[in-house]
Amino acid sequence: MEALLQNLDTLLVYVFGVAALVAGALMIVLRHPMQVAMALISAMVFLGGVYGLLGVHFIAAFQVLIYVGAVMVFMVYAIMLLDVRDKSYTQRFSRFLVLGIAGAVIFVGVLVYGFAHGQHASARASVSFGLQQFASAFLNEYWLHFELTSVLLVAAVVAAMAVIRGSKRHG
């Protein structure tokens, strides 16, 4: 009992990790966009669990808050309005099958190479990385990146509006 409690964290990290992997695989295998979105949401939540167990609770909170609470909510919102009789739902593979497999092989190859030759960071950070450190690093060093991203996002929103307006005028 005592041993189980002591190793509970490690056990749970493995459980969440495997669950995230399964969800990720499902995301690729499933065909209906809504099911794919659900698999992606599960993967994000399980990853959040892994982050939480590694001791960075606020990263876990951001993971769920931003990816599930914001990004995926909009995705689900859009998927909800798709036509369910779309042909692509019944097709197994897309035109980019060969390209995709090649990309996957290269990606896995790089991962294996990096894992075999690179230095391994220990899974459990010895220094406590709290919200305070995160906030000061974020606002002192990375504020420019963040602001640039927001400019990019505004540009994307304006572009989307322009596309909608344009298609309305033509239609």
Binding site: E2, H32, M34, F58, F62, V68, M72, V73, Y77, G130
Partner: protein, 380 residues
């Protein structure tokens, strides 16, 4: 190790018991309070008859909650012809579970020292002390919003998977409304975080033990009265209740996103809604009403503005905090029900305009003013 397990299992059992009790009790409060407000008698039919006698226990209609539960459990679980029955089955749980999880980070009491509380167990517990909170995480309030955002997906999934146009419209409304008000809610809380300088809910509660201007208790509602009002309005909208119940407006959409749900699956949506009332009450209490403490009270006892101090024994503090927290939550729940039975429903475009053109700018303004004041207070 085992000691931690014992304490936290006790906390979790307590939290679930409290939430379930609130969920059941609030159905009764809603009926009875609305009856009082409208000068009716209200629910008084369900009874339990003592065996072998003709004595019927009515108890002000308290058994109506049990009758509801039994009815929902034994009804036919009718399934629509849906293209994704898995999503259909999982949707009520996606609505229900995050609401329960939010309570994990809410402190329902101060610091508890089991050895002082139960001297006979001092050998087992030693000098361990536990904050009365299931998980004290440094992310605190962020966790609340992270889980709060997940219920949106549940509502949209339910509407989409029902294969019904009313459900779909309800899901659309639920999605856009909840996204909008979630944002307002987050912005209103930011001002409070600026003042207390932390997102940790236990620290926020402790910070509210002092006094403000010498005589007011340093509660969030006195620091940020404006934010408190906005938070309450946004929270009610987030919970999709009248005057913001457009996603399930029965005169337009039958039952909105859960039209196609029956029996206990539909009950789960209702139950989640009632538990969320209690969660909103708990959050409001924690952020704006000093949490589990009475005015001028902290874990040590009372320290009145005049300078007089009234120390309390540990047992008295723990019991007072538990009771005071529940009483405050109940008060806020009752206030929400008061609003629900007082105001008429918005029109749908008004709901979104209200969020984006009225509440959102106000919340931003509140944040800017708070930031400037906080900066002036800290800079010499």
């Amino acid at each position: 190790m085992i000691q931690d397990l014992v304490v936290y299992v006790a906390y979790i059992v307590y939290a679930i018991a409290v939430l379930m009790t609130f969920g059941t009790l609030l159905t009764w409060v809603e009926r009875k309070q609305s009856a009082v407000m409208q000068d009716r008698i209200g629910a008084n039919r369900a009874y339990v008859r003592l065996p072998f006698t003709q004595i019927k226990l009515i108890w002000l209609g308290l058994f109506h909650g049990i009758a509801d539960g039994l009815k929902l459990m034994t009804k036919e679980d009718w399934r629509p012809k849906t293209y994704d029955w898995y999503a259909y089955a999982v949707a009520p749980w996606v609505c229900f579970v995050p609401v329960l999880l939010v309570f994990a980070v809410i402190p329902f009491g101060g610091l508890m020292v089991p050895a002082k509380l139960f001297p006979s167990l001092a050998g087992f517990f030693g000098d361990r002390a536990y904050p009365m909170q299931i998980a004290r995480l440094d992310a605190g309030i962020l966790i609340v919003f992270a889980f709060g955002g997940m219920t949106i997906i549940g509502a949209m999934l339910a509407g989409w998977s029902s294969y019904n146009k009313f459900s779909m419209l309800g899901a659309l409304r639920a999605g856009s409304q909840m996204i909008s008000y979630e944002l307002v809610m987050g912005l209103t809380v930011l001002g409070l975080i600026l003042i207390y300088g932390t997102v940790d809910l236990t620290t926020i509660v402790q910070e509210q033990s002092g006094t403000l201007l010498g005589f007011l208790p340093a509660w969030g509602v006195f620091h940020q009265p404006f934010a408190a009002t906005l938070f309450m309005a946004a929270a009610i909208a987030e919970n999709k209740r009248i005057p913001f119940d457009l996603p399930e407006a029965e005169s337009e959409l039958i039952s909105g996103f859960y039209t196609e749900y029956s029996a206990m699956k539909m009950g789960l949506f209702m139950f989640a809604e009632f538990i969320e009332i209690a969660i909103i009450g708990a959050l409001f209490t924690t952020l704006f009403l000093g949490g589990c403490n009475l005015p001028y009270m902290s874990d040590a006892g009372f320290a009145f503005p005049g300078g007089s101090v009234l120390p309390m024994s540990h047992g008295a503090v723990v019991v007072t905090q538990l009771v005071v927290f529940l009483a405050k939550v109940m008060l806020i729940c009752s206030f929400q029900i008061l609003i629900r039975w007082s105001l008429p429903r918005f029109r749908y475009d008004q709901v979104l305009k209200f969020a984006w053109k009225f509440m959102f700018p106000l919340a931003l303004m509140n944040l800017v003013v708070t930031a400037v004041l906080a900066w002036m207070a800290t800079s010499p």
